[in-house]
Protein backbone atom coordinates (compact mmCIF):
# COMPACT_ATOMS: atom_id res chain seq x y z
CA UNK A 1 0.00 0.00 0.00
CA UNK A 2 1.25 3.42 -0.84
CA UNK A 3 1.57 6.32 1.52
CA UNK A 4 -1.61 8.29 2.20
CA UNK A 5 -1.58 11.85 1.01
CA UNK A 6 -2.89 14.93 2.68
CA UNK A 7 -5.40 16.46 0.28
CA UNK A 8 -7.29 19.74 0.44
CA UNK A 9 -10.28 20.49 -1.79
CA UNK A 10 -12.89 23.21 -1.83
CA UNK A 11 -16.18 21.52 -2.65
CA UNK A 12 -19.29 23.66 -3.14
CA UNK A 13 -17.61 26.46 -1.22
CA UNK A 14 -16.62 24.28 1.74
CA UNK A 15 -13.00 23.50 2.58
CA UNK A 16 -12.37 19.76 2.92
CA UNK A 17 -9.21 18.08 4.21
CA UNK A 18 -8.47 14.39 4.39
CA UNK A 19 -5.83 11.70 4.04
CA UNK A 20 -6.28 9.41 1.05
CA UNK A 21 -4.30 6.91 -0.95
CA UNK A 22 -3.18 8.39 -4.30
CA UNK A 23 -5.29 5.81 -6.16
CA UNK A 24 -8.53 7.15 -4.70
CA UNK A 25 -10.63 8.42 -7.60
CA UNK A 26 -12.35 11.75 -7.07
CA UNK A 27 -15.84 10.30 -7.53
CA UNK A 28 -15.25 8.02 -4.52
CA UNK A 29 -13.90 10.92 -2.47
CA UNK A 30 -17.04 12.90 -3.21
CA UNK A 31 -19.56 10.12 -2.71
CA UNK A 32 -18.09 7.96 0.03
CA UNK A 33 -15.77 10.25 1.95
CA UNK A 34 -17.66 13.55 1.75
CA UNK A 35 -21.18 12.13 1.35
CA UNK A 36 -21.77 14.28 -1.71
CA UNK A 37 -23.85 11.75 -3.63
CA UNK A 38 -25.20 13.94 -6.44
CA UNK A 39 -22.47 12.93 -8.90
CA UNK A 40 -23.24 9.33 -9.85
CA UNK A 41 -21.19 6.37 -10.97
CA UNK A 42 -22.62 5.17 -14.27
CA UNK A 43 -20.12 3.45 -16.53
CA UNK A 44 -16.97 4.28 -14.56
CA UNK A 45 -15.05 4.29 -17.84
CA UNK A 46 -15.19 8.02 -18.79
CA UNK A 47 -18.03 7.54 -21.25
CA UNK A 48 -21.38 8.24 -19.61
CA UNK A 49 -20.84 11.58 -17.86
CA UNK A 50 -22.99 10.77 -14.78
CA UNK A 51 -20.01 11.66 -12.56
CA UNK A 52 -19.46 15.09 -14.18
CA UNK A 53 -18.43 17.89 -11.81
CA UNK A 54 -16.89 21.31 -12.43
CA UNK A 55 -13.24 21.58 -11.42
CA UNK A 56 -11.60 25.00 -11.66
CA UNK A 57 -13.99 25.97 -14.45
CA UNK A 58 -13.78 22.75 -16.46
CA UNK A 59 -16.39 20.01 -16.82
CA UNK A 60 -14.60 16.86 -15.71
CA UNK A 61 -15.58 13.21 -15.37
CA UNK A 62 -14.65 12.62 -11.75
CA UNK A 63 -14.26 8.86 -12.30
CA UNK A 64 -11.17 9.66 -14.39
CA UNK A 65 -9.31 11.88 -11.97
CA UNK A 66 -7.52 11.02 -8.76
CA UNK A 67 -8.40 13.11 -5.73
CA UNK A 68 -4.67 13.86 -5.44
CA UNK A 69 -4.75 15.53 -8.87
CA UNK A 70 -7.49 17.86 -7.66
CA UNK A 71 -5.41 19.01 -4.65
CA UNK A 72 -6.10 22.71 -4.14
CA UNK A 73 -8.93 22.79 -6.69
CA UNK A 74 -12.39 24.29 -6.44
CA UNK A 75 -15.10 21.79 -7.24
CA UNK A 76 -18.80 22.31 -7.87
CA UNK A 77 -21.27 19.45 -7.90
CA UNK A 78 -25.03 19.49 -8.47
CA UNK A 79 -25.42 20.14 -4.72
CA UNK A 80 -23.59 23.43 -5.17
CA UNK A 81 -25.91 24.67 -7.91
CA UNK A 82 -29.21 24.76 -6.04
CA UNK A 83 -31.37 22.91 -3.52
CA UNK A 84 -35.06 21.95 -3.25
CA UNK A 85 -36.00 25.45 -2.11
CA UNK A 86 -33.80 27.40 -4.48
CA UNK A 87 -33.53 25.46 -7.71
CA UNK A 88 -30.99 26.54 -10.31
CA UNK A 89 -32.74 27.65 -13.54
CA UNK A 90 -31.46 24.45 -15.19
CA UNK A 91 -32.91 22.29 -12.42
CA UNK A 92 -36.22 24.15 -12.72
CA UNK A 93 -36.19 23.78 -16.52
CA UNK A 94 -35.41 20.03 -16.40
CA UNK A 95 -38.37 19.63 -14.03
CA UNK A 96 -40.73 21.76 -16.12
CA UNK A 97 -39.78 20.30 -19.50
CA UNK A 98 -39.53 16.66 -18.48
CA UNK A 99 -35.76 16.63 -19.06
CA UNK A 100 -35.42 13.52 -16.93
CA UNK A 101 -37.15 10.25 -16.34
CA UNK A 102 -35.16 8.00 -13.99
CA UNK A 103 -32.92 10.92 -13.06
CA UNK A 104 -29.69 8.97 -12.83
CA UNK A 105 -27.84 11.00 -15.47
CA UNK A 106 -29.40 14.31 -14.42
CA UNK A 107 -26.80 15.64 -11.94
CA UNK A 108 -24.06 15.13 -14.52
CA UNK A 109 -26.25 16.57 -17.29
CA UNK A 110 -27.09 19.71 -15.36
CA UNK A 111 -23.57 20.25 -14.04
CA UNK A 112 -22.22 19.95 -17.59
CA UNK A 113 -25.00 22.23 -18.92
CA UNK A 114 -24.07 25.03 -16.48
CA UNK A 115 -20.61 25.15 -18.03
CA UNK A 116 -21.99 24.90 -21.58
CA UNK A 117 -24.27 27.91 -20.97
CA UNK A 118 -21.36 29.80 -19.47
CA UNK A 119 -19.40 29.28 -22.68
CA UNK A 120 -22.36 29.65 -25.07
CA UNK A 121 -25.15 31.61 -23.35
CA UNK A 122 -27.57 31.24 -26.25
CA UNK A 123 -26.81 27.89 -27.88
CA UNK A 124 -28.48 26.42 -30.94
CA UNK A 125 -29.90 22.91 -30.75
CA UNK A 126 -26.82 21.65 -32.58
CA UNK A 127 -24.49 23.38 -30.12
CA UNK A 128 -26.39 21.85 -27.21
CA UNK A 129 -26.24 18.36 -28.69
CA UNK A 130 -22.53 18.73 -29.42
CA UNK A 131 -21.75 20.33 -26.07
CA UNK A 132 -23.67 17.66 -24.16
CA UNK A 133 -22.19 14.75 -26.13
CA UNK A 134 -20.19 13.54 -23.14
CA UNK A 135 -23.36 12.79 -21.16
CA UNK A 136 -25.48 9.75 -21.92
CA UNK A 137 -29.18 9.40 -21.06
CA UNK A 138 -30.94 6.07 -21.61
CA UNK A 139 -34.49 7.31 -20.92
CA UNK A 140 -35.40 10.58 -22.55
CA UNK A 141 -34.11 10.28 -26.09
CA UNK A 142 -32.46 13.66 -25.39
CA UNK A 143 -35.24 15.74 -26.98
CA UNK A 144 -36.51 17.09 -23.67
CA UNK A 145 -32.99 17.58 -22.36
CA UNK A 146 -32.35 19.88 -25.31
CA UNK A 147 -35.64 21.68 -24.65
CA UNK A 148 -34.80 22.06 -20.96
CA UNK A 149 -31.41 23.58 -21.67
CA UNK A 150 -32.91 25.95 -24.25
CA UNK A 151 -35.58 27.02 -21.74
CA UNK A 152 -32.99 27.55 -18.99
CA UNK A 153 -30.84 29.60 -21.38
CA UNK A 154 -33.79 31.86 -22.19
CA UNK A 155 -34.62 32.21 -18.50
CA UNK A 156 -31.02 32.93 -17.49
CA UNK A 157 -30.48 35.44 -20.31
CA UNK A 158 -33.71 37.27 -19.38
CA UNK A 159 -32.66 37.39 -15.72
CA UNK A 160 -29.23 38.70 -16.72
CA UNK A 161 -30.80 41.40 -18.91
CA UNK A 162 -33.21 42.41 -16.14
CA UNK A 163 -30.29 42.74 -13.74
CA UNK A 164 -28.36 45.04 -16.09
Amino acid sequence: MSKKMHTTLKVNGKQEEFLAEPRELLIYTLRERLNITGPHIGCETSHCGACTVTIDGKSVKSCTMFAAQAEGAEITTIEGLGGPDDLHPLQEAFKEHHGLQCGYCTPGMITRATKLLEEIPNPTEEEIRFGMAGNICRCTGYQNIVKSIQAAATEMNAAKEAAE
Partner: protein, 284 residues
Amino acid sequence: MIPAAFEYYRPKDMDGVLTLLAEHGDDARVMAGGHSLIPMMKLRMADVPHLIDMQDVGGLSDIEITNDSIRIGAMVTQSDIIAHDGLSEVAPILREAALQIADPQVRYMGTVGGNVANGDPGNDMPGLMQCLDATFTLIGADGERDVPARDFYEAAYMTAREDEEVLTAVTLPLPKGGYAYEKQKRKIGDYATAAAAVQIVKNGDTCVSASIAMTNLSDTPIYSADAGAALVGTSVDDAALKAAVSAMDGDIDPTEDNRGPIAFKKHVAGVILRRAIERAWSRA
Protein backbone atom coordinates in the same frame (compact mmCIF):
# COMPACT_ATOMS: atom_id res chain seq x y z
CA MET B 1 -12.71 0.06 -10.61
CA ILE B 2 -9.75 0.83 -8.43
CA PRO B 3 -6.22 0.91 -9.82
CA ALA B 4 -3.34 -0.87 -8.14
CA ALA B 5 -1.58 1.22 -5.51
CA PHE B 6 1.08 3.66 -6.66
CA GLU B 7 3.21 6.53 -5.41
CA TYR B 8 2.08 9.94 -6.65
CA TYR B 9 4.43 12.83 -7.37
CA ARG B 10 3.74 16.37 -8.47
CA PRO B 11 7.12 17.96 -9.20
CA LYS B 12 7.31 21.73 -9.70
CA ASP B 13 9.77 21.69 -12.60
CA MET B 14 11.25 19.52 -15.34
CA ASP B 15 14.40 18.79 -13.30
CA GLY B 16 12.17 17.22 -10.68
CA VAL B 17 10.45 15.13 -13.35
CA LEU B 18 13.73 13.95 -14.91
CA THR B 19 15.18 13.06 -11.48
CA LEU B 20 12.15 10.87 -10.74
CA LEU B 21 12.39 9.23 -14.18
CA ALA B 22 16.10 8.55 -13.68
CA GLU B 23 15.38 7.02 -10.29
CA HIS B 24 12.44 4.80 -11.27
CA GLY B 25 13.01 4.09 -14.99
CA ASP B 26 10.13 2.29 -16.64
CA ASP B 27 8.38 1.88 -13.27
CA ALA B 28 7.49 5.55 -13.61
CA ARG B 29 5.11 7.23 -16.05
CA VAL B 30 4.45 10.90 -16.59
CA MET B 31 0.81 11.95 -16.79
CA ALA B 32 -0.67 15.05 -18.40
CA GLY B 33 -4.49 14.97 -18.53
CA GLY B 34 -4.56 11.30 -17.60
CA HIS B 35 -7.51 10.45 -19.81
CA SER B 36 -5.67 7.65 -21.60
CA LEU B 37 -3.51 6.50 -18.69
CA ILE B 38 -6.04 6.49 -15.84
CA PRO B 39 -8.57 4.29 -17.69
CA MET B 40 -5.73 1.83 -18.43
CA MET B 41 -4.68 1.92 -14.76
CA LYS B 42 -8.28 1.30 -13.66
CA LEU B 43 -8.48 -1.72 -15.96
CA ARG B 44 -5.07 -2.75 -14.55
CA MET B 45 -3.75 -2.93 -18.10
CA ALA B 46 -1.15 -0.30 -17.20
CA ASP B 47 1.04 -0.97 -14.18
CA VAL B 48 2.40 2.33 -12.92
CA PRO B 49 4.16 2.06 -9.54
CA HIS B 50 5.28 5.69 -9.74
CA LEU B 51 2.94 8.26 -11.26
CA ILE B 52 4.37 11.69 -12.09
CA ASP B 53 1.67 14.33 -12.51
CA MET B 54 2.92 17.10 -14.83
CA GLN B 55 0.32 19.74 -13.95
CA ASP B 56 2.65 21.91 -11.81
CA VAL B 57 5.52 21.91 -14.31
CA GLY B 58 5.34 25.35 -15.90
CA GLY B 59 5.98 26.41 -19.48
CA LEU B 60 4.21 23.50 -21.18
CA SER B 61 0.85 25.14 -21.89
CA ASP B 62 1.77 27.82 -24.42
CA ILE B 63 0.77 28.12 -28.07
CA GLU B 64 3.31 30.23 -29.99
CA ILE B 65 2.68 31.28 -33.58
CA THR B 66 5.49 32.84 -35.64
CA ASN B 67 5.74 33.74 -39.33
CA ASP B 68 6.62 30.23 -40.36
CA SER B 69 5.83 27.84 -37.51
CA ILE B 70 3.56 26.91 -34.63
CA ARG B 71 4.82 25.56 -31.31
CA ILE B 72 2.30 23.84 -29.07
CA GLY B 73 3.29 22.97 -25.51
CA ALA B 74 2.70 19.38 -24.49
CA MET B 75 0.14 20.34 -21.82
CA VAL B 76 -2.07 22.34 -24.20
CA THR B 77 -5.47 20.65 -24.08
CA GLN B 78 -7.79 19.80 -26.97
CA SER B 79 -10.16 22.39 -25.56
CA ASP B 80 -7.37 25.03 -25.60
CA ILE B 81 -6.79 24.23 -29.29
CA ILE B 82 -10.49 24.62 -30.08
CA ALA B 83 -10.76 27.93 -28.22
CA HIS B 84 -7.56 29.55 -29.60
CA ASP B 85 -8.59 32.07 -32.27
CA GLY B 86 -5.11 32.68 -33.70
CA LEU B 87 -4.47 28.98 -34.10
CA SER B 88 -7.80 28.37 -35.83
CA GLU B 89 -6.86 31.09 -38.29
CA VAL B 90 -3.41 29.80 -39.28
CA ALA B 91 -4.01 26.04 -38.87
CA PRO B 92 -7.74 25.34 -38.91
CA ILE B 93 -7.12 21.60 -39.36
CA LEU B 94 -6.00 21.43 -35.70
CA ARG B 95 -9.35 22.69 -34.48
CA GLU B 96 -11.26 20.52 -36.95
CA ALA B 97 -9.45 17.43 -35.64
CA ALA B 98 -9.64 18.39 -31.96
CA LEU B 99 -13.42 18.78 -32.22
CA GLN B 100 -13.62 15.14 -33.32
CA ILE B 101 -11.66 13.81 -30.35
CA ALA B 102 -13.65 12.21 -27.53
CA ASP B 103 -16.26 14.47 -25.88
CA PRO B 104 -16.31 17.91 -24.20
CA GLN B 105 -15.32 16.69 -20.73
CA VAL B 106 -12.42 14.64 -22.07
CA ARG B 107 -11.24 17.53 -24.27
CA TYR B 108 -10.85 19.77 -21.21
CA MET B 109 -8.34 17.27 -19.80
CA GLY B 110 -6.81 15.56 -22.83
CA THR B 111 -3.57 17.16 -24.02
CA VAL B 112 -1.72 17.34 -27.32
CA GLY B 113 1.43 15.94 -25.69
CA GLY B 114 -0.38 13.00 -24.15
CA ASN B 115 -2.20 12.27 -27.37
CA VAL B 116 0.96 12.15 -29.49
CA ALA B 117 3.30 10.56 -26.90
CA ASN B 118 1.00 7.75 -25.84
CA GLY B 119 1.52 5.84 -29.07
CA ASP B 120 -2.04 4.51 -29.20
CA PRO B 121 -2.87 3.92 -32.88
CA GLY B 122 -6.42 5.12 -32.10
CA ASN B 123 -5.30 8.62 -31.11
CA ASP B 124 -6.03 11.28 -33.73
CA MET B 125 -3.15 13.72 -33.20
CA PRO B 126 -0.33 11.39 -34.32
CA GLY B 127 -1.68 11.00 -37.87
CA LEU B 128 -2.55 14.68 -37.97
CA MET B 129 0.98 15.66 -36.94
CA GLN B 130 2.45 13.33 -39.56
CA CYS B 131 0.30 14.99 -42.20
CA LEU B 132 1.52 18.41 -41.02
CA ASP B 133 5.16 17.23 -40.84
CA ALA B 134 5.45 18.23 -37.19
CA THR B 135 8.46 17.68 -34.98
CA PHE B 136 8.30 16.43 -31.40
CA THR B 137 10.70 17.84 -28.81
CA LEU B 138 11.89 15.39 -26.17
CA ILE B 139 13.86 16.26 -23.06
CA GLY B 140 16.04 13.85 -21.12
CA ALA B 141 19.05 13.83 -18.86
CA ASP B 142 21.28 14.74 -21.83
CA GLY B 143 19.16 17.68 -22.92
CA GLU B 144 16.68 18.16 -25.74
CA ARG B 145 16.32 16.42 -29.08
CA ASP B 146 13.81 16.69 -31.90
CA VAL B 147 12.18 13.76 -33.65
CA PRO B 148 9.99 14.15 -36.76
CA ALA B 149 6.44 12.87 -36.21
CA ARG B 150 6.90 10.73 -39.32
CA ASP B 151 9.78 8.84 -37.61
CA PHE B 152 8.35 8.72 -34.07
CA TYR B 153 5.99 5.73 -34.13
CA GLU B 154 7.46 2.22 -34.10
CA ALA B 155 4.49 0.03 -33.09
CA ALA B 156 1.43 0.27 -30.87
CA TYR B 157 2.52 2.16 -27.72
CA MET B 158 6.16 1.93 -28.90
CA THR B 159 7.73 5.22 -29.91
CA ALA B 160 11.15 6.83 -30.33
CA ARG B 161 10.77 8.33 -26.84
CA GLU B 162 13.03 6.65 -24.26
CA ASP B 163 11.62 5.76 -20.85
CA GLU B 164 13.62 8.55 -19.22
CA GLU B 165 12.46 11.21 -21.69
CA VAL B 166 9.48 13.56 -21.65
CA LEU B 167 7.78 15.01 -24.72
CA THR B 168 7.58 18.77 -24.15
CA ALA B 169 6.36 20.35 -27.37
CA VAL B 170 5.06 19.84 -30.89
CA THR B 171 6.34 22.22 -33.58
CA LEU B 172 4.94 22.39 -37.08
CA PRO B 173 5.49 24.52 -40.16
CA LEU B 174 2.54 26.83 -40.91
CA PRO B 175 0.19 24.66 -42.98
CA LYS B 176 -0.58 25.85 -46.50
CA GLY B 177 -3.64 25.45 -48.68
CA GLY B 178 -6.81 23.49 -48.10
CA TYR B 179 -7.30 21.07 -45.23
CA ALA B 180 -9.60 18.40 -43.87
CA TYR B 181 -9.65 15.99 -40.95
CA GLU B 182 -12.32 13.42 -41.68
CA LYS B 183 -13.14 10.74 -39.11
CA GLN B 184 -15.57 7.85 -39.16
CA LYS B 185 -16.47 6.61 -35.68
CA ARG B 186 -19.25 4.48 -34.27
CA LYS B 187 -20.27 7.00 -31.62
CA ILE B 188 -19.06 10.14 -29.83
CA GLY B 189 -16.04 9.25 -27.77
CA ASP B 190 -15.02 6.29 -29.90
CA TYR B 191 -11.74 5.92 -31.68
CA ALA B 192 -11.81 6.14 -35.46
CA THR B 193 -12.87 3.22 -37.59
CA ALA B 194 -10.84 5.22 -40.10
CA ALA B 195 -9.68 8.82 -40.19
CA ALA B 196 -7.76 10.88 -42.72
CA ALA B 197 -5.78 14.10 -42.41
CA VAL B 198 -5.26 15.97 -45.67
CA GLN B 199 -3.47 19.22 -46.43
CA ILE B 200 -3.39 20.22 -50.09
CA VAL B 201 -2.03 23.14 -52.12
CA LYS B 202 -3.59 24.30 -55.40
CA ASN B 203 -2.11 26.45 -58.14
CA GLY B 204 -4.72 27.38 -60.73
CA ASP B 205 -6.54 24.07 -61.27
CA THR B 206 -3.53 21.92 -60.44
CA CYS B 207 -2.53 20.29 -57.19
CA VAL B 208 1.08 21.26 -56.41
CA SER B 209 1.48 19.44 -53.11
CA ALA B 210 -0.56 17.10 -50.95
CA SER B 211 0.10 15.49 -47.60
CA ILE B 212 -1.98 12.56 -46.39
CA ALA B 213 -1.95 10.56 -43.15
CA MET B 214 -4.36 7.93 -41.83
CA THR B 215 -5.42 7.06 -38.26
CA ASN B 216 -6.21 3.70 -36.65
CA LEU B 217 -5.59 1.62 -39.74
CA SER B 218 -2.27 0.04 -38.64
CA ASP B 219 -0.42 -0.32 -35.36
CA THR B 220 1.03 3.16 -36.03
CA PRO B 221 -0.36 6.20 -37.81
CA ILE B 222 0.32 5.95 -41.54
CA TYR B 223 1.83 8.82 -43.51
CA SER B 224 1.18 7.87 -47.11
CA ALA B 225 3.67 9.72 -49.31
CA ASP B 226 2.43 7.77 -52.33
CA ALA B 227 -1.17 8.84 -51.78
CA GLY B 228 -0.09 12.49 -51.69
CA ALA B 229 2.12 12.03 -54.77
CA ALA B 230 -0.82 10.54 -56.68
CA LEU B 231 -2.58 13.90 -56.48
CA VAL B 232 0.33 16.18 -57.39
CA GLY B 233 0.15 17.47 -60.95
CA THR B 234 -3.50 16.47 -61.35
CA SER B 235 -6.71 18.49 -61.15
CA VAL B 236 -7.82 16.10 -58.36
CA ASP B 237 -10.32 14.49 -60.69
CA ASP B 238 -11.90 11.08 -60.23
CA ALA B 239 -8.88 9.23 -61.65
CA ALA B 240 -6.53 11.04 -59.25
CA LEU B 241 -8.80 10.35 -56.29
CA LYS B 242 -8.88 6.66 -57.21
CA ALA B 243 -5.09 6.59 -57.54
CA ALA B 244 -4.62 8.28 -54.15
CA VAL B 245 -7.05 5.91 -52.43
CA SER B 246 -5.37 2.92 -54.05
CA ALA B 247 -1.91 4.13 -52.94
CA MET B 248 -3.17 4.67 -49.39
CA ASP B 249 -4.76 1.21 -49.43
CA GLY B 250 -1.34 -0.28 -50.13
CA ASP B 251 0.17 1.48 -47.11
CA ILE B 252 -2.36 0.65 -44.39
CA ASP B 253 -2.55 -2.66 -42.55
CA PRO B 254 -5.72 -2.75 -40.43
CA THR B 255 -6.60 -5.66 -38.17
CA GLU B 256 -10.03 -7.08 -37.43
CA ASP B 257 -11.58 -5.92 -34.16
CA ASN B 258 -14.95 -4.79 -32.81
CA ARG B 259 -14.94 -1.93 -35.34
CA GLY B 260 -15.17 -4.45 -38.15
CA PRO B 261 -13.31 -6.89 -40.39
CA ILE B 262 -10.31 -5.88 -42.49
CA ALA B 263 -12.25 -5.52 -45.75
CA PHE B 264 -14.73 -3.17 -44.08
CA LYS B 265 -11.99 -1.01 -42.58
CA LYS B 266 -10.24 -0.76 -45.94
CA HIS B 267 -13.53 0.23 -47.52
CA VAL B 268 -14.19 2.89 -44.89
CA ALA B 269 -10.62 4.17 -45.19
CA GLY B 270 -11.17 4.71 -48.93
CA VAL B 271 -14.48 6.52 -48.41
CA ILE B 272 -13.04 8.72 -45.68
CA LEU B 273 -9.90 9.59 -47.63
CA ARG B 274 -11.91 10.48 -50.72
CA ARG B 275 -14.16 12.76 -48.65
CA ALA B 276 -11.17 14.36 -46.93
CA ILE B 277 -9.37 15.06 -50.21
CA GLU B 278 -12.52 16.49 -51.80
CA ARG B 279 -13.16 18.76 -48.82
CA ALA B 280 -9.53 19.88 -48.58
CA TRP B 281 -9.47 20.56 -52.33
CA SER B 282 -12.66 22.63 -52.11
CA ARG B 283 -10.96 24.76 -49.46
CA ALA B 284 -7.61 25.05 -51.27
